[in-house]
Symmetry: D2
Subunit: 443 residues, 4 copies
Amino acid sequence: MSVFGVFKCGNAAELTYYGLHALQHRGQEGCGICTTNGMELYRERGEGLVIEIFNEKKLTQLKGDCAIGHVRYSSAGGGVDNVEPFLFRHHTGDFSIALNGSLVNSNQLQMSLETQGSIFQSSSDAEIIAHLMKMNRIKDKTNAIEEVLTMIEGAYAFLILTKDKLYACRDANGLQPLSIGKRNGGYIVASETCAFEAVGATFVRDVNPGEMVIFEKGADPKSILFADKSSHKMCAMELVYFARPDSEIEGVNVHTFRKNCGKYLARLAPVEADLVMGVPDSSISGAIGYAEESGIPYEIGLIKNKYIGRTFIQPSQELREKGVRLKLSPVRSLITGKRVVLLDDSIVRGTTCKRIVRMLKSAGAKEVHVRICCPPMPHPCFYGVDTSAREELVSARLDVEGVRQMIEADSLFYLPEEYLRKAGNETGLCLACYNGEYPTRLY
Amino acid sequence: MSVFGVFKCGNAAELTYYGLHALQHRGQEGCGICTTNGMELYRERGEGLVIEIFNEKKLTQLKGDCAIGHVRYSSAGGGVDNVEPFLFRHHTGDFSIALNGSLVNSNQLQMSLETQGSIFQSSSDAEIIAHLMKMNRIKDKTNAIEEVLTMIEGAYAFLILTKDKLYACRDANGLQPLSIGKRNGGYIVASETCAFEAVGATFVRDVNPGEMVIFEKGADPKSILFADKSSHKMCAMELVYFARPDSEIEGVNVHTFRKNCGKYLARLAPVEADLVMGVPDSSISGAIGYAEESGIPYEIGLIKNKYIGRTFIQPSQELREKGVRLKLSPVRSLITGKRVVLLDDSIVRGTTCKRIVRMLKSAGAKEVHVRICCPPMPHPCFYGVDTSAREELVSARLDVEGVRQMIEADSLFYLPEEYLRKAGNETGLCLACYNGEYPTRLY
Amino acid sequence: MSVFGVFKCGNAAELTYYGLHALQHRGQEGCGICTTNGMELYRERGEGLVIEIFNEKKLTQLKGDCAIGHVRYSSAGGGVDNVEPFLFRHHTGDFSIALNGSLVNSNQLQMSLETQGSIFQSSSDAEIIAHLMKMNRIKDKTNAIEEVLTMIEGAYAFLILTKDKLYACRDANGLQPLSIGKRNGGYIVASETCAFEAVGATFVRDVNPGEMVIFEKGADPKSILFADKSSHKMCAMELVYFARPDSEIEGVNVHTFRKNCGKYLARLAPVEADLVMGVPDSSISGAIGYAEESGIPYEIGLIKNKYIGRTFIQPSQELREKGVRLKLSPVRSLITGKRVVLLDDSIVRGTTCKRIVRMLKSAGAKEVHVRICCPPMPHPCFYGVDTSAREELVSARLDVEGVRQMIEADSLFYLPEEYLRKAGNETGLCLACYNGEYPTRLY
Amino acid sequence: MSVFGVFKCGNAAELTYYGLHALQHRGQEGCGICTTNGMELYRERGEGLVIEIFNEKKLTQLKGDCAIGHVRYSSAGGGVDNVEPFLFRHHTGDFSIALNGSLVNSNQLQMSLETQGSIFQSSSDAEIIAHLMKMNRIKDKTNAIEEVLTMIEGAYAFLILTKDKLYACRDANGLQPLSIGKRNGGYIVASETCAFEAVGATFVRDVNPGEMVIFEKGADPKSILFADKSSHKMCAMELVYFARPDSEIEGVNVHTFRKNCGKYLARLAPVEADLVMGVPDSSISGAIGYAEESGIPYEIGLIKNKYIGRTFIQPSQELREKGVRLKLSPVRSLITGKRVVLLDDSIVRGTTCKRIVRMLKSAGAKEVHVRICCPPMPHPCFYGVDTSAREELVSARLDVEGVRQMIEADSLFYLPEEYLRKAGNETGLCLACYNGEYPTRLY
């Protein structure tokens, strides 16, 4: 998931369109844009890619120089009703909300709200935030949001748009990223900095953990720190897996982080081999780092088909068994008879990694040595990463040797936690899925 | 453009769907599939990507175990009427045709056919081949196609499907690629071998220059050599630019070819620099080769947005000037203050290369050294590559130093012809766009 | 607008599809269906005709043997967010609501709800009813709805679907129609009886004014009378204009009602003429009655194009002035040189009637005598009929002679109120738009 | 099927859009428009209704002040490739063709053309005409068309559009209608005059049997009579069934014709009954005539759902048996206990009529007396009317009493041929399907 906001930048809808397009890797299920021209809020949303949902006519109807947008990832609770931004009508002023992340106390909050008379039309935590704002009966929106921020817990970054203000809020541990950019006297807010480059904006700073930034006409952005105590615990998987290589997260360039992980793996787990390759796209940087450090040539041994869409017809079981492949292809002539080092970002259930090892072996690889750019993940994530079911986590069941056998690799090595931290310049990271140290309460 | 054929392989439509998807990089404008169950020919086509045009219902309606398919590249002569395969109804038997390439004597042939009473409903050379087949009044289709092959000149690979046969023809110079694969007792024919991997087929051999291969039930494939003299003059730009890195063309792996080009460039035109990068996607392999040979680190300095579609809304001139970017983004933190070696596959008009050099410099690059994976291209191509207008070719107007100034690079070096040949294992290549030696007559 | 409900009848989604299709004349802007299989509620909706929004795949996903559906009329507050049925999620049980009609105290209720913390996502009164149900904090849904029914005032007929019950409620004056039918042991509820014929159901009875009928598994439908006092004040315009001729409303067949109106007009306002015609479709029955009574031949003098859709391209002003016509065509050869009696259902602003009179005269009519099947309408409707703006009502400004001149007719006669009542068999009708006697409070 | 042409009338595409919309009752399967601005021909087509296929953007791209259009009826040879106008490219000048009708010697012509080298891409006779034009190798298009007109036989009306001319041709017997209208100094040509009213044109005259009219800039329309002998043998079913009631065909108003048929039926086959009704839409006029003549009241006893589309989901067999109805509904309260006279236009297979009689009886009709507005049809039509299979014609198998029993009517009467002629003012009609006297050779 991802949010993108525009404050006072000419055609806000069009900029949001390009910004969301740059953030599309964070969610392909649905997307939406809500704009305001200071008088009305306009909203358009749908299920599909940004380039599928919006056209010039729709962008023209989204009037104004302020906007928020969203791309949606999870298939949990599908349907267009769950596509953000949500738009709420109220006599004290309409408002719109877009959320990246997940509240850990959402069940408690929703039950309490329902008991007080709220009814819900979606399964998104963003609707909870909206109800909380109204249930407080605080007329001033800034105060109302401040009050809400004391009630919600979890990993979140959300934007609220009213007719005259844009609010950007980030959770007290900074679990979810949120950055501020500048463009022609106006402001851009985005989950990832790669979106700044797409719209010609320049990076200013990150929203701090536990900070709400208020953008208001004729005034400098105003910062409110709402958390009693805050910490830097950015989700490590953002660096390892989610983010685009050209983004800076907490001051760390994602490509460089991943390349460093690869270098450490080469030092810690060297192996005699003929070539290094990575699972595209997230493990390419790691493979390049491994190759550079080890002197083993880097090769493009796996090709990912880039013409992707939501409506792809899946090959039947029979065709899959006969080798029909949708997304990944091995480059047979590079692989046959070779000893391969395969970099992968992480192992969740182990099934994908096993499929790739088999694919390489059936393409003739003599040996496949798997190097993983993060530690084993035995602990579920409660902050939005889709690895919540403990029984699905192969590292909750098996030790490293067990996983190696399961994925049929000739060797397997995970990057230890300390090197992950080192690759991230010792910036504060949430490593809960590796070590079980959750930065928030759990419910 | 690209063709794909299936002979006697279970659900031919579905295999063609996956095969065309793997060939999608060769044409995104339109696509079509024609199948036969031995009794009828079924055809479906449309403007857009394979995953946009076909759905399960349409695939179900395309009955039979034989098929041909096509993806269309050129925007010249658009409209669904120009999307192949074409389907022709005739009392001697219906047939369908799909063509990759371009005839050099198409104007002469079409005029002659029209004078004899033919009328045309498209602007594709495939329709000329169909008219020639019929104008000869030879009832037997094999003889009719043989006769046609003596009349047409140019760079082509085409497939013809009848109720009981599949014909695969390649021009006398082998300018266009065409390969045969095997799958479960049936056959696959494709413009690029990467499609074999996608459908679980294994490579058998290339169709030879000047060869027609006939697939017929209950018999081995039959080969007919139709050309007085043939030669191996495969289009060099296939290796340099068009093909997917995982394809083998004339026995050469495309990724390895490109990596070798990069290595030669590193030897011939070394430079002191901090990092090497390539223009995605076609120049990545070259950049890796340059980095490996030179010892300068390879970095992902340019990111290409992979969520692409035909209906993308282009940013306005004003937004483009303010830095709104659709496809390519520079990774600012890697580039700022650095000396960059930039690998690009080729320079046609020079405008794209200039735009990228400027983008890197505006992202802070101290120096940009451009290395091109082929020689200068002062000569137009008459075989289907879209560089036909001489005035557009910057190398027809300017020498290397002139181009360097035009693209605002700090240095510029083109790979000499002999090294291109070496990278391709001295396989016969058409180098006409570099040296003006056209392997066919020109009209 | 119109509602349709199914209780325990096999494939409820499919029946609702056919039922809504039969009710399509009551609203073409949007439509939706919500079903339940006793465990989950499923909902699908969209902007457009029933046949445009639903396909077999969508109907299959709407599981269960109970359903409610809606077709939407008004363009006020457009967008798919306003298309019913609405679906609300709540820990005490999800529910769905579809409403035909309009509350007169909606502003008061919404303000009060918002003050208590409710937020609204649509501009439909159905959302108010849902919030009221929850705000009461009465856990039992039946009691909650009963409580709501004492709070809302206006003209309404609504359906509420829960996992195990279907509620059908009609306002205390019976301003909006709602009927119950039987089908194979299950029940159908619909705004108009023509929908019963479409799904093979038979009419049982009308829901009474001020009655809530509860359909529950394993029990007979249960009736609760919620109003202190109730009356029969069905909207007369239902009979005059909205309903399909094959419906029975309050025991009166719509076609027969309209034919009777025409007969009375023939008796009360005879004229020497050559032919009688009606404005299609709602005034055809009246014209037939006038012709039958007067002995003047009935002719099809105006043809309505039946291929209609939401996306029709409107002719430009220039083309309209040059006679380009979208919907209605005069039959020139019948009209030229003739004295015409033209039946129309009603006159609201007078512009349509004037355009038709002009059309007939320009097609050669010597005289046009207009006969209106109801009295003049000087009073706005507050119950959902789209004539609310007083300044638009031509009869609020002009007397009969004034209207005659304005519409350029040779004579004009309105059916007096008493004859309208007689045509409706003296059933209780709301005649407020004619005589200003509103059956509810106004706010 | 239907053709529509515009010559020198401002925005030709838009007028054709409205004209085809008025002709939509003649074909709902597909439609297309081809225009010219004197330099290029532009064409757009698709499967569906006019309002579905065209939008403002597409109309804008169809430039020029001349156009031809087509609506397609038959499902024989479906697919967009069979949707006209066809567009042919030729060095002597591109041209487009749209045809209403059917050639009787099409098989012979196509075989001869194929033997000479033609290949066909559709199954429409229009493509044959195009090939004949070119096969003649006559450079001048007027001469080429004249030559073609001596070769083709059948029932046809076709339009050919070149960059500077519009040709309108009608077969020698005038089996298919074609009329000329005037508009602002330009011309309109249409299969039915109702299209003139839609675009603000006025009727000038019919194209004569065996006439080609040539519209050319700066000259009066030129008439060429191409047939040795011609006759007036307009298809009687146009008047009986196909045409819209507001059209004039061969000087006869369609509604009046049908009303007269009804009157004759009342005189020839009176019956004691309570009400008269007609099967909508084509038999309404006949029923009104019967009622007027007999004094029995006319009632709207059958309602046709007007929200129709190509993609309607058909009710399952089970639902149909349980009374789910898609299109026609009986008005139960009018029918129960009544003796009904039912007017229908014709009886082909008898199945539809039987279904309606049963529907009326199950709605309570005491007696159903069927009156048919034309004679029995024992002979197949070879001119395009979809009754070609002899075994399907119930009157080829059964006499009148046999048909009466088959359709379960209480009485049945067909209008004799002489009265059909009388109703049509003794204009020359093709009555071949009634009497077997075919006006052309048959092959």
